[in-house]
Structures are given as structure tokens and as C-alpha cells.
């Protein structure tokens, strides 16, 4: 039992009761909590002024296209992160599985069976991850790593790994291509998911226990919570979001292949973190994650518009993650003084 002692010591200094905070510190604290808003605003402003074509309707649609699938994954994965379980690597397998199932099965038997099959797969992913982490107290990183292997392995074993495509004219395809003004349907799905999941996290007992678990697992359990179920819930939310991301992706490209979601794990995590959700658990929110996704998508979009090569794009992304969080950390520190 190493951590009780550590936790206690971490709190050793929190002695005096509520101290009134100076206004200067208030501003810094606000910066610490809202740095990402500022950063995103600045980035967009710069892009609008400095980058030709950024503000065009078409390009806005492209940004949304970038944001939608990864964003839907990220808002869901936020639950796992807030519950203090680092991340869910298996979203890579989950997105691909749901996309392949949707197209492959719908080609044969129509959409309803396809969607049901995909939901079943998502449920299995969520429950296996959740049980292993929630009840067996296994490390989430390794559990989800293993379910990634298993999931992709099964998918490739049964699908043979082939690329599947839907009929040229299909409801799915037209949904994938559909727009409301400049806003693709997929982006609307993202917004709806954000609102729903945000409400789930902040306005329900389930969401409450997820946050509470992230802050103090033992106190949450002794407060009369079946913590195992909470964790299963968090992983199920992630799994179903990943499933919907898979649908959106399949609709957009009207094709599905097991390799289509490579890299979604850390890209989603990056968005969550840039959004300001703490990987220590407890702190964070779904809208923040959306903001993080927007930030990363706009950044990538701008770099492509400037015809910056992939290498530099990665460097920029990495640098901005570090920078964003550094500002955050420094401001927080200053806020304390």
C-alpha cells in the first residue's frame, strides 16, 4: 500500500482553511484553467488573417471532417481518463471493428443487423476492459493493449483483412457526404455526442461517481459505490463512442478496412490532454476535450494548407502539446503564490 502514505503527504501542506485569493492570482488561475480557450482563439484568429483560404466554407468543412471521427472517440475516452485510468488503447480496434461490421454486414443483411452487430461488439469491448480494470484491478494500459491485439486479431481473422466498400449510392454514403450548410453531418454528430456525454458526466449520478472515483477510489467505494460498475460504465461509454466514430468514418469514406483507425489511441489522448483533462483523473470535462480536438484539427489543417511536410506537422503537434501544458502548469504555479 504505497499510495495512501503518498496521498497523505501530498496534502501535508493544505493546512490553513480557505485562504482568500488576490485578484492577480485569480487572473492567473483563470489563465491556467482556460489557457486552451485562449490558445485556440489565437490560433484561429492567426489562421483567418494569415492563411489564405482557411476561412472558406469548404475548408471549414474539411476541418470538421478532420475533427469528427477522432473527436467522437476523444469525447468518449474522456470518461476513462477522468476515472484515472490513463487511456483506452483499444479504441483503435474498436473503431475499425465497428466500421468493418457496419459495411460488411449491411452489404449482406442491411443496416439494422449491422448496427446491432456493431453494438454487440462495442458492448463486449467495453465489458471486457471494464471488468478487467474495475474488478480485477488490472492496469488499464495493458488491459486495453491486450484487447487491441485480441480485437484486431479477431477482426483480421474473420474479415480476412480485406477492404470493404458500400454501394456507390447508399443512405450511408449520402450521410457521409451530407452537409448542413458548411457543416458535415459527422460534425453535427460530434456536437450532439459532446452535449450528451457532457450531460452524462455532469448531470448524472453515474458521471458523478466517475469523477469521484478519479479523485479518490477508496472514499468512493466506502461512500457506497460499486466501483467496478463505474469503471465498466466508463469503458462502455468509450466503446460506444468509438463505435459511432467507426460509423461516421465508414459513412465518410464508404469503405472500411482493419487498418483505417491506426493512431487513433494517442491522437485522441493528445486532444483530451490539450483540452486540459488531467491524466491523474478527477479533473476535466467533455467540452474541453471537444476544444482540444478543434485545436489539433485546426492546427493540422493550417499546416497542410501551408504545405508543411508531415514531419514538421508532427513536430508542431508535439511542441504545442508541451507548450500548452507548460503554460498551464506555470500559470497554475503562479496562481498558487
Amino acid at each position: 500500500m504505497g499510495d495512501p502514505l503518498t496521498q497523505v503527504n501530498a496534502l501535508a501542506t493544505s493546512e490553513a482553511p480557505n485562504k482568500e485569493i488576490s485578484t492577480g492570482a485569480k487572473v492567473l488561475a483563470w489563465m491556467a484553467d482556460n489557457g486552451i480557450f485562449v490558445l485556440t482563439a489565437v490560433l484561429i484568429a492567426v489562421a483567418v488573417i494569415g492563411v489564405e483560404g482557411f476561412a472558406s466554407l469548404q475548408n471549414i468543412a474539411d476541418v470538421f471532417h478532420r475533427a469528427a471521427p477522432i473527436g467522437i472517440v476523444a469525447v468518449g475516452m474522456t470518461f476513462v481518463v477522468i476515472s484515472g485510468n490513463y487511456l483506452d488503447l483499444s479504441v483503435v480496434a474498436q473503431v475499425a471493428t465497428s466500421a468493418v461490421i457496419l459495411i460488411a454486414v449491411s452489404n449482406e443483411y442491411g443496416y439494422i443487423p449491422a448496427i446491432l452487430a456493431a453494438m454487440l461488439a462495442a458492448a463486449v469491448f467495453g465489458i471486457v476492459n471494464g471488468v478487467a480494470v474495475g474488478y480485477f484491478k488490472a492496469n488499464a494500459v495493458i488491459v486495453t493493449l491486450s484487447t487491441t491485439y485480441i480485437g484486431l486479431g479477431l477482426l483480421r481473422f474473420f474479415s480476412g483483412g480485406s477492404i470493404f466498400f458500400g454501394p456507390y449510392e447508399s443512405p450511408l454514403a449520402s450521410f457521409g457526404a451530407g452537409k448542413l450548410g458548411p457543416v458535415p453531418y459527422s460534425a453535427i454528430v460530434l456536437v450532439i455526442m459532446t452535449i450528451l456525454l457532457s450531460l452524462l458526466l455532469t448531470r448524472t449520478n453515474f458521471g458523478f461517481t466517475v469523477r469521484s472515483f478519479g479523485v479518490n477510489e477508496r472514499a468512493t467505494r466506502l461512500g457506497g459505490t460499486n466501483t467496478g460498475l463505474v469503471i465498466i460504465g466508463a469503458f462502455l461509454v468509450t466503446a460506444f463512442s468509438a463505435m459511432i466514430a467507426g460509423f461516421v468514418l465508414a459513412a465518410f469514406s464508404n469503405t472500411a478496412v482493419s487498418a483505417m483507425s491506426t493512431g487513433y489511441d494517442f491522437r485522441a489522448l493528445a486532444a483530451i490532454i490539450v483540452g486540459g483533462t488531467s491524466v491523474f483523473g478527477g479533473k476535466g470535462s467533455v467540452p474541453r476535450t471537444l476544444l482540444g480536438v478543434v485545436f489539433v484539427s485546426v492546427l493540422t489543417n493550417v499546416l497542410v494548407l501551408l504545405n508543411i511536410s508531415f514531419g514538421y506537422q508532427q513536430m508542431a503537434l508535439g511542441f504545442l502539446i508541451a507548450a500548452a501544458v507548460s503554460i498551464d502548469a506555470l500559470a497554475r504555479r503562479a496562481g498558487k503564490k
Binding site: 483560404g53 469548404q58 471532417h65 483483412g161 477492404i163 457526404a177 494548407l305
Partner: protein, 352 residues
């Protein structure tokens, strides 16, 4: 330790399940690869039983995780079965170090009679070849050839010429452009992937030499993905201005499909653009027939998989020896250019 005892039961069950699974898996694998039905190849380690059937390692950088690999494997396994070869297939996911380790395993296996090698990274394959030679195991290269200086260490090569494919696609681009000054955008494969860079270079350099009137306005990776290519293409169009773009090249059909989708999403008349690609796949072929994709380069995964086995068989049976001197030690895959004129020709029927 109360907890650990509590979890042991399900754990044991899971473990059992896993072992059973691999049990049958092993059978699937070996029956899939050899009709001589030595189903528990994991069992025989003496080496004496393996004499009638030839044991060959196929060290590939992709398999069921990529569409091409998926359609490459069955013909390969069928041919192996036909020739009484027992195949062990690995997939290094384009990780050169992993493949090198798999190569060491193949060389260390006392039963190995031959190695089919699809280099993950051509530059890094030399040690593997030397080790195999030291062990007297013939190596046949497939799909992507080794560097010229290393060819002497191999028994032969069958497959495409990735650079050549890029070049062929470029030639079509030049032809269709017909001397007119046009600007195009280029969608590449996965960054850092050797096929991607070879095709890219092939196209780029051929355009530069053959038809300087065609200018590449922008390049971005599409990572072999339709969706990512569509976004990248659309963003490139925005960046350079649609009015300046008259053509597009993508390193494979999935990506060109994305590019075309990007044009359509803007309500542009795809027919007005000169578009070339590589593959002539199930995705690309219909586009050619529809007149959207002006030209693509046919690549036959079945030819590729089959001839890899044919090649190593000839090497093992002494029909061809070390080096590339004797004829038939280099089998180039015919890479016919596919346009609307021959798109329905059975000889170029899509395979993947």
C-alpha cells in the same frame, strides 16, 4: 493473496481457452499452407519428418492488416500447397527490426529450406541475407527488390518495380496532359514507408524529366487511406486554389478514390481533371470505367504471391542459383497501364 486466488479460476479458464484456440489455429495455419497435412507443425522438431515437405519462411511486412497483403496470401498459400511447401508466414508491420529478428528465427530453424523475403526496408536487409547464405538457405525476394549491391546475395526476385509504377503513372499523366501547362496535386502513401517513397520518387522524377509542363503544386500523405486522402486532397485544393489545379496523382487507388471524392464534394466535374494512380483495384477499376480515373497501373497481388512461391521453389530445387545471372531469376510483374479502353479486359481484372 486472497484476491489472486479469487481471480485464478477465470484466469485458468481464459488460459485454457487461449491454448485451445492456438491449438486449432496451428492447424488452420498449416493446413492452409500445406496439403501434406502435418497439422501439428509445432510438434515436430526433430527435422527428420520435414524432409518430404519443404519448409519455407515467408517474411512479409504486411498481411491481413492490409488489403493488398490480404489478397496476396491466398494465391501464395495455394501455390505452396500445390508444390508441397509448408509455409510459415510472418508480418513485421513494416518494422525493419522486427523483420530482422524474424529472419534470425527463420535461419535458426533447423528445418528451414528456403526464405521468401519482402523487405520492410530494403536498406536494412543485408545482414539477413548474409546470415541466410551462411546457413546455406536460399532467399527469394518478393514484391520490393533489394538494393543492387545486395542482389548477389539473393537467388532472384519476383514482383513489381515500385519506382517503375510511379514512373508509369507519370507517363500517363504526361500523355494526357499533352504538352499543356497544368498544375497537379500529389497524394503519397504512408510517410516513411518504402513503397510510398519509391512510387512518389518515380512519379516526381519522371514528370520532371518527361513533361516539365506538368507542375506538382502540393504533396501530402494520404496514408493509404481513402478518408485521410479525401481531407488532405481537399485541403491541398484550398491551399493552391482550385482554379490552378487541372490534375491529380495518388500512389494507390484507395487514395485516388478519396481525392476524387474531394473533387465531387466541391461539385467539380471530375471528368475535366487529369487523374492517374496505381493499382486498378476493386475500388479503382470502376472509377476508370466511369471515366473519372483517367489511368491507373495494374498490380496483380495473386501474380505477386504465386510467383514468390514459384521463385523460391526453383531456388530450392536448384533451377536457379545464387545471384541474378541465370535467366528466370528475375520475374517482373507485368504492370499494364489501365485506361478506359482496356479497363474491362479480363487480363487486368481487379483482384484487391
Amino acid at each position: 493473496m486472497r484476491k489472486s486466488r479469487l481471480v485464478l479460476a477465470p484466469a485458468a479458464m481464459l488460459a485454457a481457452a487461449a491454448l485451445v484456440l492456438t491449438g486449432c489455429a496451428t492447424e488452420d495455419a498449416s493446413t492452409g499452407s500445406s496439403d501434406s497435412g502435418s497439422s501439428d507443425s509445432s510438434g515436430d522438431t526433430g527435422g527428420d519428418t520435414g524432409d518430404d515437405t519443404l519448409k519455407v519462411y515467408a517474411l512479409l511486412p504486411q498481411g491481413n492488416d492490409q488489403p493488398y497483403g490480404t489478397t496476396y496470401l491466398p494465391p501464395m498459400q495455394a501455390k505452396a500447397a500445390e508444390l508441397g511447401i509448408e509455409l510459415t508466414i510472418t508480418n513485421s508491420e513494416y518494422d525493419g527490426d522486427k523483420q530482422a529478428s524474424e529472419c534470425e528465427i527463420a535461419v535458426a530453424d533447423s528445418e528451414t529450406d528456403g526464405i521468401i523475403l519482402w523487405p520492410a526496408i530494403a536498406d536494412s536487409i543485408r545482414p539477413c541475407l548474409e546470415a541466410a547464405n551462411a546457413a546455406g538457405i536460399p532467399v527469394w525476394i518478393t514484391n520490393a527488390d533489394v538494393n543492387p549491391e545486395d542482389t548477389g546475395l539473393t537467388y532472384g526476385y519476383s514482383g513489381t518495380d515500385s519506382y517503375g509504377q510511379g514512373a508509369a503513372s507519370a507517363e500517363m499523366m504526361c500523355e494526357f496532359a499533352g504538352g499543356a501547362d497544368i498544375g497537379i496535386i500529389q497524394i503519397n502513401g504512408l510517410t516513411g514507408n518504402s513503397v510510398a517513397s519509391l512510387r512518389g520518387a518515380g512519379f516526381r522524377e519522371t514528370v520532371a524529366s518527361e513533361c516539365p509542363n506538368v507542375t506538382i503544386l502540393a504533396e501530402q500523405p494520404g496514408n493509404w487511406n481513402k478518408d485521410e486522402s479525401q481531407i488532405a486532397a481537399s485541403e491541398m485544393l484550398t491551399a493552391v486554389g482550385v482554379e490552378n489545379v487541372q490534375g491529380m496523382y495518388a500512389a494507390d487507388d484507395s487514395m485516388v478514390a478519396g481525392g476524387i471524392a474531394a473533387l465531387e464534394a466541391r461539385g467539380l466535374a471530375v471528368e475535366d481533371f487529369i487523374i492517374t494512380s496505381i493499382g486498378n483495384t476493386f475500388l479503382g477499376n470502376p472509377l476508370v470505367i466511369d471515366g473519372k480515373l483517367d489511368g491507373t497501373v495494374f498490380q496483380s497481388s495473386s501474380w505477386d504471391g504465386e510467383n514468390a512461391v514459384v521463385g523460391i521453389y526453383r531456388a530450392m530445387t536448384g533451377d536457379t542459383s545464387l545471384g541474378r545471372d541465370d535467366d528466370g531469376s528475375v520475374l517482373y510483374m507485368p504492370n499494364p497501364k489501365v485506361t478506359i479502353d482496356n479497363a474491362t479486359d479480363p487480363s487486368v481484372a481487379p483482384e484487391w
